[in-house]
């Protein structure tokens, strides 16, 4: 099925001129300013389970969004109907809605001189993600699952192996002269094996590789083997008593803490006093060893753009690199145009944009700068503690900083990883947790847009048996 070639009509519509035309139509209809977004994308995915193809999916779609201004009032609309009739309704709908909104003195597009886009080739799009013929795509999913199943006799079931690929294009146009677009691509391979212990208790885990270029994907065999290692090590998991011990966050969970710092430093939470970091600009909010960066123009060591790299933000301001925390001191809030005006500051070019609605604040490549210790050295330093490999639930309160989440992982005893641990929670408050980061690993790897090395945090409470 992957050999199916989509008819030309699907790709020849010039989305840039379409977006510019919609802006012109809105201005003609009376908008004092207008901003249009156009998105198109296609996706392919195959799942293989127990060696057999389970699902094959292949399709594409497009959509348009429009934000209109009438002075300090604004409204928005979106549609999947790209016909002239659909576009007319999009413009009319937005213009009709702007009549019911009210003036917000700080509302409006950025100023003309602020717009821009990175001109360098950021290497975000590779057409090789669709280069594999259909049968080989299935084979990649099958090989990944098979490698996991073959790795250990206790792996007897599976949630499958997957291969998927996607490409997309984003266009932004506005009435102040900005017109930009960029294409992105993605390919991924993953496996989710299930292992059973002697008592019949089941555990599932998984692993994946994703990349902008097919050529940069790890082999399905290495991904499957890692998925198996992660699954089997969960066998025999048990609870541990309620206590306070050092907690080591593996990179795949540590990154969610860095994401919480970004969220708490986002302008929208700050101006509303809805963040434990509100009013903390220039103050020490974390240990002196912490340096947190949001780099929206970063290239990966492989020479391609990072997962969060882009030429411009959701409002058409050029992407940039922002140091958020330096030596533990909060250097800046993360801002789009509106939240910057609310705080009397300048945008940090972190606007995010969906199809409809007002721009939000979003990160690009967000990471904690690595330290010098290996994960083994961090663990080796702990007499009794918990190494966390996965977290559950939504127990992070950005307003108060209170943190309480379900956790699974491995028990640390005399510097060594011992038995698996499950059905416990870890709790603390982000204010103290950030100051109690007592070790930072050297193992920073970007597997997605948000990344962290291994970190150790002291003073948290485990609730268990």
């Amino acid at each position: 099925m992957a050999d199916t070639v989509l008819p030309a009509e699907f790709t020849t519509v010039d989305l840039e001129s379409l977006a510019a035309d919609i802006v012109a139509q809105a201005v003609k209809a009376g908008a004092s300013d207008a901003e249009a977004v156009a998105r198109e994308g296609d996706e392919f995915s195959v799942s293989v389970r127990m060696g057999q193809v389970e699902t094959l999916k292949e399709s594409g779609s497009r959509a348009l969004g429009l934000r209109v201004f009438n002075g300090k009032k604004s409204a928005s609309a979106s549609t999947s109907d790209l016909t002239p009739d659909g576009i007319r309704q999009l413009v009319e709908g937005a213009m009709e809605l702007v009549k019911v909104t009210e003036e917000d003195l700080l509302n409006g597009l950025p100023e003309r001189e602020e717009f821009g886009a990175i001109k360098d080739d950021q290497k975000l799009y590779f057409d090789d993600v669709y280069s594999l013929p259909g049968p080989e795509r299935i084979e990649w999913a099958r090989r990944c699952e098979a490698a996991a199943m073959a790795a250990d006799a206790r792996i007897t079931n599976s949630d499958g192996g997957d291969f998927n690929a996607a490409t997309g294009r984003k266009v932004l146009a506005n009435s102040r002269g900005f017109l930009g677009s960029y294409k992105t691509s993605y390919a991924g391979v993953s496996a989710a094996p299930i292992a059973v212990d002697a008592n019949g208790a089941k555990q599932r885990d998984g692993w994946w590789s994703s990349a902008r270029s097919f050529a940069l994907l790890e082999s399905p065999e290495s991904v499957g083997a890692e998925a198996a290692r992660r699954t089997v090590r969960r066998l025999g998991a048990r609870r541990v008593p309620t206590q306070q011990v050092p907690i080591v966050f593996a990179p795949e969970v540590a990154r969610s803490l860095i994401g919480s710092v970004f969220e708490a430093a986002s302008g929208d939470a700050i101006w509303r006093s809805a963040s434990f970091l509100a009013g903390k600009l220039g103050e020490t909010i974390a240990g002196p060893n912490l340096r947190i960066i949001d780099d929206n123009v970063m290239m990966l060591p492989s020479g391609v753009g990072g997962f969060g790299t882009s030429p411009f933000d959701g409002e058409g301001l050029p992407s940039r690199r922002t140091v958020i925390v330096e030596n533990g001191v909060l250097q800046t809030y993360l801002l789009n145009t509106y939240t910057a005006r609310k705080l009397g500051m300048k945008s940090t070019h972190n606007a995010s944009r969906g199809l409809a609605g007002t721009p939000g604040v979003g990160c690009g490549n967000l990471f904690l700068e690595p330290g010098t210790l290996t994960p083994e050295e961090i663990i080796g330093d702990i007499k009794a503690g918990l190494y966390v490999t996965s977290l559950m639930g939504f127990g992070t309160n950005i307003v108060t900083g209170d943190y309480s989440r379900g956790a699974t992982g491995l028990w640390i005893e005399n510097g060594e990883l011992t038995h698996a641990v499950e059905e416990i929670t870890i709790a603390g408050n982000l204010r103290e947790m950030l100051k109690n980061v007592t070790a930072i690993g050297s193992d920073l790897v970007f597997r997605g847009a948000v990344a962290s090395p291994t970190i150790r945090i002291d003073g948290m409470t485990i609730a268990g048996a």
Binding site: S80, N157, K202, R204, S273, V399, M460
Partner: protein, 484 residues
């Protein structure tokens, strides 16, 4: 049509036939193409959604948006295999192209012909707004403005108020090679209030919401803007004085209504038939076995009038129903869709749902709740010497395979000597699905359903759901706080 359709079904269907030029002949041709490579079964899922959202923030109506989307998903089943393709262009050539793409999941000669459809009898669980989307925006704005006023009036420490209203009308039409033919028009609306409270020391948040499948008449009494605003504000003010939640195992009393999210996470997901067909659920093989105390009976019911989780037909065109999941503590059955019913030989419970035409359907919950017991809520609280009383929750999550689940309390209190005492900070509760409900020792006589705010995620697909529960006591549950 072999059966003469009811008048409501005709009007649901007419929308697609008239607006997009769909004909019965075209549906048959598409299904024929979908099965041309030898598939066992194919279905077409047409969906058209219009949505509107309004928001007030700092007493200013800052946002208004609307959206429309339409498309069709084509699914082909061949044994256990699923082929899927979709298009947002409903012209005949694009539909046929999607059908040919999905068809390639099978390889062989065509073995099915598609001839005629039989209407699925469709319930009438919710009103269909007349006049489609020519909304009375002023009446909707009034709801959020009333909420804003009430929240700010509650207490001077409420420093931020946001209220939002959102509404969608989803039209679907399903045509399948087994002759199933169904259409439905599904309204869904929701009102939310978010507040921030602040004193000298800290800021806290509070939120409340309500909704369902219906019109503005929903927003009365406990779902009125004023009530929701007061609930949001009360929750935030309460948190200003909260003490650290305790840590460790203890007796836990859950209040009625939304705390039923316990059931959704602890047992609901684990009883979805896809996981059990594959043997990947902690509940696999437990039918007929005790998984809860004998006081516990849990049902999933898609046929409740006007509820957020209700559907006249599921997204495969099957009628929804009330399904008993756990009866007096014994596991009775799973939630099935067409594929899992066929592969396991179980009856189809009408639980096949999907987020949109871009998504493959799978077994999902609708409204999941525990039946009432005999205990008075006061007696339940009085019976606890030291424990936690949790009445409101944020989200939850479950690991289907090992059964471990969490749900996060956003309003909870200490219970000391049978009395509710200090409010505690947010804390996550954790347990093991097949074991947790065995510790239910008391079940209240006060069954309540939630206010219509639940959204369930599975494999990246979100669908609206409901939960409900009476007050219950669990003799043992782990509370993830930091205190003693």
């Amino acid at each position: 049509m072999t059966n003469s359709p009811a008048s409501t079904a005709t009007s649901h269907r007419r929308y697609f036939f008239e607006k997009f030029g769909i004909t019965e002949r075209l549906l048959e041709r598409c299904l024929g193409e979908a099965l041309a490579a030898g598939g066992d079964y194919a279905d077409l899922y047409f969906e058209a959604v219009t949505s509107t959202a309004l928001g007030v923030d700092e007493q200013i109506v800052k946002s208004a948006s609307q959206g429309t989307s339409a498309g069709c998903g084509v699914r082909v089943l061949s044994g256990e295999r699923t082929g899927y393709a979709y298009t947002d262009n409903l012209s005949p050539d694009r539909l046929l192209h999607a059908a040919r793409t999905a068809a390639l999941i099978a390889s062989g000669p065509s073995k099915q012909t598609v001839q005629g459809f039989t209407d699925t009898p469709v319930g009438d669980l919710y009103p269909v707004p007349l006049g489609g989307f020519n909304l009375d925006l002023a009446a909707r704005l009034e709801l959020i403005l009333r909420a804003d006023r009430a929240a700010r009036a509650f207490d001077p420490r409420i420093v931020q108020v946001r209220a939002s209203y959102s509404e969608e009308l989803r039209r679907i039409l399903v045509a399948a090679s087994d002759g199933a033919f169904a259409s439905d028009t599904q309204p869904l609306c929701r009102l939310n209030v978010f507040v921030i409270a602040k004193d000298e020391a800290i800021s806290t948040k509070g939120s409340a919401g309500a909704g369902g499948r219906g019109g503005l008449e929903i927003f009365r009494e406990t779902k009125s803007p004023e009530h929701l605003a007061q609930e949001a504000a009360r929750g935030a003010i309460l948190q200003l004085g909260a003490v650290p939640a305790p840590a460790g195992e203890m007796q836990v009393v859950l209040g009625p209504g939304w705390p039923g999210i316990l059931l959704h996470e602890a047992v609901g997901h684990g009883l979805e038939a896809d996981f059990n067909r594959k043997g990947t659920s902690a509940f696999t093989g437990l039918i007929g076995r005790p998984v809860a105390s004998s006081k516990v009976t849990v049902v999933d019911n898609g046929t409740m009038e006007g509820r957020r989780g209700s559907l006249n037909v599921d997204d495969e065109g099957s009628a929804t129903q009330e399904t008993v999941l756990i009866e007096n503590g014994v596991l009775r059955g799973y939630l099935t869709d067409k594929l899992s019913a066929r592969l396991t030989g179980a009856a189809n419970t009408g639980s096949g749902r999907r987020e949109s035409y871009q998504s493959i359907p799978m077994p999902r919950m609708t409204n999941t709740y525990m039946l009432a017991g005999d205990d008075a809520p006061e007696d339940i609280l009085r019976s606890v010497k030291r424990g936690l009383y949790a009445v409101n929750f944020g989200g939850g999550q479950v690991d289907i395979t090992n059964g471990k689940f969490v749900f996060s309390a956003s309003e909870a209190y200490l219970i000391e000597d049978g009395k509710i005492t200090a409010p505690v900070k947010d804390a996550t509760l954790i347990g093991n699905g097949p074991e947790a409900l065995k510790y239910v020792s008391m079940v209240g006589n006060d069954l309540k359903l939630d206010e219509g705010i639940g959204t369930c995620g599975k494999d990246g697909q979100s669908v609206p759901v409901g939960v409900g529960m009476p007050t219950i006591k669990l003799d043992r549950m782990t509370v993830g706080g930091t205190g003693r």
